[in-house]
């Protein structure tokens, strides 16, 4: 179980390699990468609540490990100002079977969206900026795990 918040970019392959080094007991690894989308958005700044963020993510991760027989999990979230195409988040879940890995990774993302103290501010091409509103779809996505 690993949780990390950082402003620097990360290397997916290196992160996975570190997590799974020397182990051959995990047959299935699912990763989710979230990227800044372009279009009208020219940059995005991620603010968070240091201390609470780590606590919330560890709670989410522990919950996933309690629900599925996972061999390893990883939550890596960036903060600060990011440009379109840049990575925001990497979540990974490893298990012996693919369904547990898919479900756990999906669960981690749904909970992260609603329960981890991050806020996004988007800069637009016209020079304005705005805080991103929480999406109703995210709370209903979380609700399906109850």
């Amino acid at each position: 179980m690993t949780v990390r918040i950082q402003s620097e970019d990360f290397d997916i392959a290196a992160e996975l390699a570190a997590l799974f080094a020397g182990r051959d007991d995990m047959g299935a690894i699912v990763t989710f990468s979230g990227l800044v989308r372009g279009g009208d958005v020219t940059a995005m700044t991620l603010e968070h609540y240091p201390g609470m963020t780590e606590k919330a993510l560890q709670k989410i991760e522990a919950e996933a490990n309690a629900r599925w027989p996972l061999k390893a999990t990883l939550i890596l979230h960036r903060v600060g100002r990011l440009l379109p195409g840049e990575r925001i988040v990497l979540v990974a879940a490893a298990s012996q079977t693919r369904h547990a890995a898919f479900e756990a990774a999906s669960f981690l993302m749904d909970y992260l969206k609603t329960d981890a103290p991050f806020w996004k501010n988007e800069e637009h091409a016209d020079g304005t900026s705005a805080w991103v509103d929480a999406r109703k779809a995210d709370s209903s996505a979380k609700a399906r795990w109850r």
């Binding site: 609603t114 103290p117 991050f118 806020w119």
Partner: protein, 83 residues
């Protein structure tokens, strides 16, 4: 009491954190929000619509009915939008 503000709540209040010593009796987060809202127009704007606010007490999610004490860290922020 240590108070922290994030995202547009921070912007409206005009600061990220502060130590406060409320001048009215404070039992719950709601009491604290009522008192903070009296501290100026920025605070008033930040606390105008509680449905848009979320709360943490000592870095755990809580709600406006949560009881709080003098040494607690209370945070106010919009719904989270990570991931």
């Amino acid at each position: 009491m240590r108070i922290r503000y994030f995202a547009w709540v921070r912007e409206r209040v005009g600061r990220a954190e502060e130590e406060v010593q409320p001048t009215t009796p404070i039992a719950t987060v709601a009491d604290l929000a009522d008192w903070l809202a009296t501290r100026g127009p920025g605070y008033e704007a930040a606390f105008a619509d509680r449905n848009r606010l979320r709360v943490a007490v000592n870095q755990d999610q809580a709600d406006f009915t949560a009881h709080i004490a003098a040494n607690d860290e209370i945070a106010f922020f919009p719904p989270m939008t990570g991931g």
